[in-house]
Each structure stands twice: as structure tokens, then as C-alpha cells.
């Protein structure tokens, strides 16, 4: 096939050249040197021959254009190819640049074609990069609008807030790597939420990521706000993993598949600058480390179990020589009947996290967890609940608890409306009863959902 294609391409450009050379010459009625033998015979015959060649060229160009259009739309998502008006009178230069898709060209009046002038769709000039747009990264913007009612005096959230707009750029860099960039703008400012290079062609079954990224600690910590099954994040994220953004830092991650006949097993090792919600760096050597082991197995064709254990350590914000160690266990059970996959699914998940924070004069060993379940009961409807309980990293004896009930509606794959009733019993302060709601929307290229 590849050969066949390249042959066709060569034929196409060869033919294009011939036609382009021949067309103006023919218009001036000058005998074509290459065809001089034929010219002495019968100009009519040459005319017919040229017409035939022209038709062939047009047919090939059309198919080539369609092919390019398909390629362009595949690479550029739904982005329409840009068209600028062609500069009139400009003679096409040989070799012919790749023709823009038909829709982008401008049709020449049919009468003009008879004089041997340009015909069909003209190439687009003044926009030399038109065809290189296919290399633009996939782009998407995800808006996350939050609202809250009820009272919360401990951690009050705004009544209405455009909480976050996330802009994503994703593309293959070269045969060896791809890059993903997630920029977020929120009322507190703009930042790189994640921006990393993934090296996909390392030997030895290794996969490496380099950049700023969410650390592979458990499950929730690795997820973007718009992929969570709740409006908020579990209390344990705020108490033990440093807040909504969690462990998110600049570093290097290497993971390897541990092949065995029984189940999927993946080991990940990561090293970070050491400056995230939990860790703080005072000098270069204060890097933080992370290790994770993840096992997965299909129980039936529709049910599977995903289990992981994570460990992270680094310097904390108390003194330059004090450290925090984190240990986490997570388990996820999924059920999704294949035949009715778009109507029903269940996901139950829990994460248990232990934090040990040294303060210089002793340590605080805090424990936190959440358990949540979500069931899809119709094509676009989900209902779920979550239980929260977590000590605080600086004072393990202060335990916050909470419970939530969540309903989610998907108008389409690209938008989501969610309501959440939440009660939080804070260790200090009055309990909060709140109703939260969220509008999520996504525009741009269709991003794949990470499992």
C-alpha cells in the first residue's frame, strides 16, 4: 500500500509538472519541444491529448485533495482548513504545492478554463503554512463553573465562580515522543497545571515522562478536576495531600510493565523538585521521591479490579531538615456490561492515606480516607455518594468528616451538569450543609479519557 501510494504521488506530481509546463505553452500555440514529433502530425490530436491529460490530472488532483482533506481533518480535529483568497494572476509555481481541500479553494468560472488558464480549485497563496496546519497540536478548552449554596464558615467557597478554564495542547513531537500541555486560568491566576513530554519509544518496556505533572500517588491526585466524579475533592486531599491540586510538581517519572501471566502490573518511580502542596525544598538536594505499584485484573469481561500502593517522601515546610512521608492504598472496582456499556456502569473506589509529618520535636501520624460509589442508571444520568474522614497533617487528632450525594447529567459527551449535597463535620467549627453545583463544558479536539 505504501508503495502504491508513493507511486501514485510521484505520478501525480509528475503529471502536474507536465500539465503545468504544457498548459501555458499550448495557450500560446507554441509547439512543445518534447512533443514536436506529434506536433507535426496534427494540432487537433495534441489538443485532445492535452485535454485528456488535463482531465486525468484533475481526477488525480481531486482524489489527492480529498485525501489531504481527510488527513487534515483527522489531524486537526474539527478545525476547518483556513482559506485566504488566492492572489489573482499568479501563475502556479512548479512543483505544485499540496492542493488544499476542495472546500478551501476558489472555483474558477468554467469559461476561463477553455483558454488554457487556471481551472478548478486554485491553490491558496499568501499562507505558506496552510498545509502545515495539520501539525498543529490538538487543542481543547474545558470550562469548569462552580456554584455553592448553604453555609460553610470554615472553608467558604464563592456562591458563583468560573473556577477554572483549562486549555490543552497535545501532539506527537517526533517518532520518539509526544507532549501534553495543560494550562489553567482561574481566579487565583494562570499556571501550568501539567506540561510534560512522554517518551514512548524507550527500550526495555519503559515509559518516561519529563515535565510538570500530577504525581502518580493514588487515584484522585492524578486526575484533573473535570474527570472527577464529584464537584469537590475528598477532604483527605485537602488535609493530607496539600489541597485541590495535590502533589503536582516538576520532575521525571519512569514506569515499567512487570510482565507476568496473571495480571497487569506496573511499577513507577518518580523524582521531583520537591515543591508541591506537601513538600518544600530548601536546597537542590531536597528532591522528593515517589514509588507506586499498580495491579489490574479483569474479573469478568465487564468487571475489573484496580489496586495500587503509593509511597512518597520529601522535605516539609516545618524546618529544612524535617520530612513528610506519605503512604497510600487505593482500590477501584468497575462494572460495565459490554452490551449495555453506554447505559449502565458502576464504579466503587476507596483510597486510604497515611501521612507522617515530622515537626522537629515529634511527628504527627494522620490517617485519612474516602470511599465513593457511582452508578450510571441511564444513558446520560449518574448518581453517587461519598464518605470522607481525615485527620489533619499538622494535628492528627483533629478529624474532619463528611458525606455527599451526587447526581450528574451529561447533555452530551462534551458537557456535564452536576449537583452535590454535602455535609461536612469539621473538627473545629460548625458543621456545614451545602448544595454545590457544577457546569462543565469542553470544546475542541476530542480528548481521550484516561482509564
Amino acid at each position: 500500500m505504501a508503495m502504491c501510494l508513493s507511486v501514485r504521488r510521484a505520478a501525480c506530481s509528475g503529471l502536474a509538472l507536465c500539465t503545468l509546463m504544457a498548459t501555458p505553452l499550448f495557450a500560446q500555440n507554441v509547439p512543445v519541444p518534447a512533443a514536436s514529433a506529434a506536433a507535426s502530425q496534427d494540432p487537433q490530436q495534441i489538443r485532445r491529448e492535452l485535454d485528456r491529460l488535463r482531465q486525468e490530472f484533475e481526477a488525480i488532483r481531486d482524489s489527492y485533495g480529498a485525501r489531504l482533506a481527510a488527513l487534515e481533518s483527522r489531524l486537526g480535529g474539527a478545525a476547518a482548513p483556513a482559506a485566504t483568497p488566492p492572489a489573482a494572476g499568479e501563475a502556479p509555481a512548479a512543483p505544485v504545492p499540496p492542493q488544499p481541500p476542495q472546500a478551501a479553494g476558489v472555483d474558477v468560472p468554467s469559461g476561463a478554463a477553455g483558454a488554457g488558464g487556471p481551472q478548478g480549485a486554485l491553490p491558496v497563496y499568501g499562507n505558506t503554512g496552510a498545509s502545515s496546519k495539520v501539525f498543529n497540536p490538538d487543542m481543547a478548552v474545558i470550562g469548569n463553573f462552580l456554584g455553592a449554596t448553604g453555609s460553610n464558615r470554615v472553608q467558604p467557597a464563592p456562591a458563583l465562580e468560573m473556577h477554572e478554564a483549562e486549555v490543552t495542547f497535545q501532539a506527537v513531537v517526533d517518532p520518539y515522543a509526544r507532549a501534553d500541555l495543560f494550562l489553567t486560568a482561574s481566579p487565583t491566576g494562570a499556571e501550568i497545571e501539567e506540561g510534560f513530554l512522554t517518551l514512548t519509544s524507550l527500550p526495555g518496556g519503559l515509559l518516561a515522562k519529563v515535565g510538570k505533572m500530577k504525581q502518580q500517588f493514588g487515584k484522585v491526585n492524578t486526575m484533573h478536576a473535570h474527570t472527577l466524579p464529584w464537584v469537590d475533592v475528598p477532604i483527605v486531599m485537602n488535609n493530607l495531600l496539600g489541597g485541590e491540586e495535590g502533589l503536582n510538581d516538576s520532575g521525571i517519572s519512569v514506569s515499567k510493565l512487570l510482565l507476568n501471566p496473571f495480571f497487569f502490573l506496573e511499577a513507577t518511580g518518580e523524582v521531583y523538585q520537591g515543591d508541591s502542596g506537601v513538600f518544600k525544598t530548601y536546597k537542590r538536594s531536597d528532591v522528593s521521591w515517589l514509588g507506586r505499584l499498580r495491579g489490574y485484573r479483569d474479573l469478568t469481561e465487564g468487571t475489573n479490579l484496580d489496586i495500587g500502593a503509593s509511597f512518597a517522601t520529601g522535605h516539609n515546610d516545618v524546618w529544612p531538615d524535617t520530612t513528610t512521608k506519605l503512604f497510600g492504598v487505593d482500590a477501584t472496582l468497575r462494572y460495565r456490561p459490554l452490551r449495555r456499556a453506554i447505559y449502565h456502569r458502576f464504579m466503587g473506589r476507596t483510597e486510604l492515606i497515611w501521612s507522617r509529618k515530622w515537626h522537629g520535636d515529634g511527628d504527627q501520624a494522620a490517617f485519612g480516607m474516602y470511599a465513593s460509589g457511582e452508578y450510571q442508571f441511564a444513558q446520560r444520568w449518574f448518581a453517587g455518594g461519598r464518605y470522607d474522614r481525615s485527620g489533619r497533617a499538622d494535628d492528627a487528632s483533629l478529624i474532619d468528616k463528611g458525606g455527599s450525594f451526587i447526581v450528574t447529567f451529561w447533555p452530551s459527551e462534551f458537557s456535564q451538569i452536576r449537583g452535590q449535597l454535602r455535609r461536612t463535620d469539621y473538627a473545629i467549627g460548625r458543621p456545614a450543609n451545602e448544595a454545590l453545583f457544577q457546569f462543565l463544558f469542553s470544546i475542541g479536539a476530542h480528548g481521550a479519557h484516561v482509564f
Binding site: L5, A66, A70, R74, A80, S201, R339, F414, H446
Partner: protein
């Protein structure tokens, strides 16, 4: 040090290619249709593993880690393409740690390259049109001619990977082509009396099938691709079906039958649950049975309902 690494990599890849000659090629296909065709062409020189099951909506497959393991050891990945798998295949391929099956690799085959693709949209596209596929309808394997084109593509690819077996693959392809041509006559004969019969389909999964066998699709149960049926659209569709006397509703096995059944009750039409893929129904075990099953079912339903 560098030399050692290069030597090690060279040794590993040599070992790898030596193995490839000895053991059957591990072909992973995203759907069972492509798997079935790959098996027809590859014979016992390949093992075939399909990721999505035939009774599963191929747009919405979960990117399960168990698929990563299959892709990790794959010698060839065959995908439907045309954005059908865009929601789940890219992260799997990224995590596969298999350089060769990356979209730019020599072991990744987009089966749509030479297929006849219908419904390539022109003009401005927006998501207000629903879940549109910018590069055309991806359900193209549902015409026998495209099956032939896919097989030829696979034959070329397998021969590239394993040149020593090229004559074998060529012979297998020729055999497949011959049997397909024979079966095509049978299918065409089954469907010939029903040329131009009007049908409604649930999703836009069937243009290549209806095109191949001369059925006329006049409407869809989905108001827009990927958008579930709405009451107003359903009412409109019922009116339209009554007006045009449409008696056949073609449904994929992964869609809820509630709305199609309700429409059928109102219009006196028959709901036909077809197999959109190999494996879509128990008896549909290969690419030939896919058309046997579907043409027979549709022909019988048309006879029973007297659809025109």
C-alpha cells in the same frame, strides 16, 4: 558505554525479528471484523486478538490496562481509523511501550486507507451536529467490497513484515477474494428483490451496508449522532415513517430497544437487531457470516412486513 547500548539494542531487535519468523505474528485488531479479515489473510502464520467485542459500541470502549498488555506484545496493530477509536485507543497505544505500533510506526495499520468512505462531511463542522466524524463514516467494513480492500491492505502489511511468507499471504488473500466474490453473489441475490426499500436505522452505522445492498435510509432514531432519542424527534420520525410507509428499523445490539420498539408499535414496523460487527451475535463468527446473518435478517423482515 554508548556502543554497548547500541549493541544491546541491536541484539535485542535481532532476537526479536528472529522470533518473529519462528512464531506466528501477534496481530491485535481494535474490532473483531478486522480481526476476522486478518485471520483470513494471515492463516496460521498469525494469532489474532481483538480488543472490542462485536456486541459492544466501538465508540465507547474502556481503555482497560489489560489491553495495554495485549498491545505491548503486538507485532501489528490494525485499527478502524476515521476517529472511531479516538476515545480509547490513543492512551492505550501511548502506554503500550511498543514503539512499532505508535501511529507513526511501521506496525500500525489504519484499515481505512483504501476503503470507500461515505459521509465525509463538507463545510463547517460543529459539535452542534452531534458526534460527527470529520473524516467520514467509520463503519465502512459493512460493505463486502471494503472487506476486500481491507484484506488487501492487510496482505500487503503482513508481507512487508514477514517477506518469507508473502506467497502464503498472497494465496490466502486470493482465496478470500474468491470466496468473498462467490458469497457476494449470494448476498446480492438475497437482497436484489428489495432494492430501494426504505428503512430507518438507530445510529449512522449502516451507510456502507445499505449502499451495498440498495436500501434507502430515510431517517435515524437518534436525532443526531451520539445524542439519545428525544420525544419530539421520535414523534417526527413516526410521522415521517407513516408517511413514507417505512417498515424496517435497523438497530445495533448495544442500543436500548425501548424507543425503537415504541416506534415500531406506532408504525407497524419491525425492529431488526443486526450485527454491526463480527461477534455481534453468537452465530456471527466470521466476516462471511456477518453478511449472511444481516442480509437474511433484513430480507426476512422485509418479506414479513411487506415493506417497500
Amino acid at each position: 558505554m554508548k556502543k554497548m547500548i547500541v549493541a544491546a539494542i541491536a541484539a535485542v531487535s535481532l532476537l526479536g525479528s528472529a522470533n518473529a519468523f519462528a512464531a506466528p505474528l501477534k496481530v491485535v485488531s481494535t474490532t473483531q471484523d478486522l480481526g476476522s479479515i486478518a485471520k483470513e489473510v494471515g492463516g496460521d502464520k498469525v494469532t489474532v486478538d481483538a480488543l472490542a467485542q462485536g456486541y459492544q459500541d466501538p465508540h465507547f470502549v474502556e481503555a482497560k490496562p489489560s489491553f495495554i498488555l495485549k498491545l505491548h506484545s503486538a507485532d501489528l496493530l490494525i485499527a478502524v481509523g476515521r476517529e472511531l477509536e479516538i476515545g480509547w485507543l490513543p492512551p492505550l497505544v501511548n502506554q503500550s511501550r511498543n514503539t512499532r505500533i505508535q501511529p507513526n510506526g511501521d506496525r500500525y495499520l489504519d484499515a481505512s486507507q483504501t476503503a470507500k468512505i461515505l459521509e465525509i462531511p463538507t463545510g463547517q463542522l460543529t459539535r452542534a451536529m452531534g458526534d460527527v466524524h470529520p473524516s467520514g463514516n467509520p463503519h465502512y467494513w459493512l460493505s463486502p467490497d471494503n472487506g476486500r480492500r481491507i484484506a488487501q491492505l492487510i496482505q500487503k502489511k503482513l508481507s512487508e513484515i514477514s517477506p518469507a511468507d508473502a506467497p502464503y499471504f498472497a494465496q490466502r488473500y486470493a482465496d478470500f477474494d474468491r470466496r468473498l466474490a462467490e458469497s457476494e453473489k449470494r448476498w446480492t441475490a438475497t437482497m436484489a428483490p428489495f432494492k430501494g426499500v426504505k428503512v430507518v436505522t438507530y445510529h449512522r452505522s449502516w451507510p456502507n451496508f445499505t449502499d451495498a445492498f440498495g436500501l434507502d435510509v430515510v431517517g435515524y432514531v437518534e436525532p443526531k449522532p451520539g445524542i439519545p432519542p428525544s420525544p419530539s424527534h421520535t414523534l417526527d420520525l413516526i410521522q415521517e415513517m407513516k408517511r413514507q410507509q417505512v417498515k424496517i428499523i435497523m438497530v445495533e445490539p448495544y442500543f436500548d430497544r425501548k424507543t425503537p420498539d415504541a416506534i415500531a408499535r406506532e408504525t407497524g414496523a419491525q425492529v431488526v437487531v443486526l450485527a454491526p460487527s463480527v461477534g455481534g451475535e453468537k452465530e456471527v463468527t466470521d466476516y462471511f457470516k456477518l453478511f449472511d446473518y444481516n442480509t437474511n435478517l433484513v430480507a426476512n423482515a422485509i418479506k414479513q412486513t411487506g415493506a417497500k
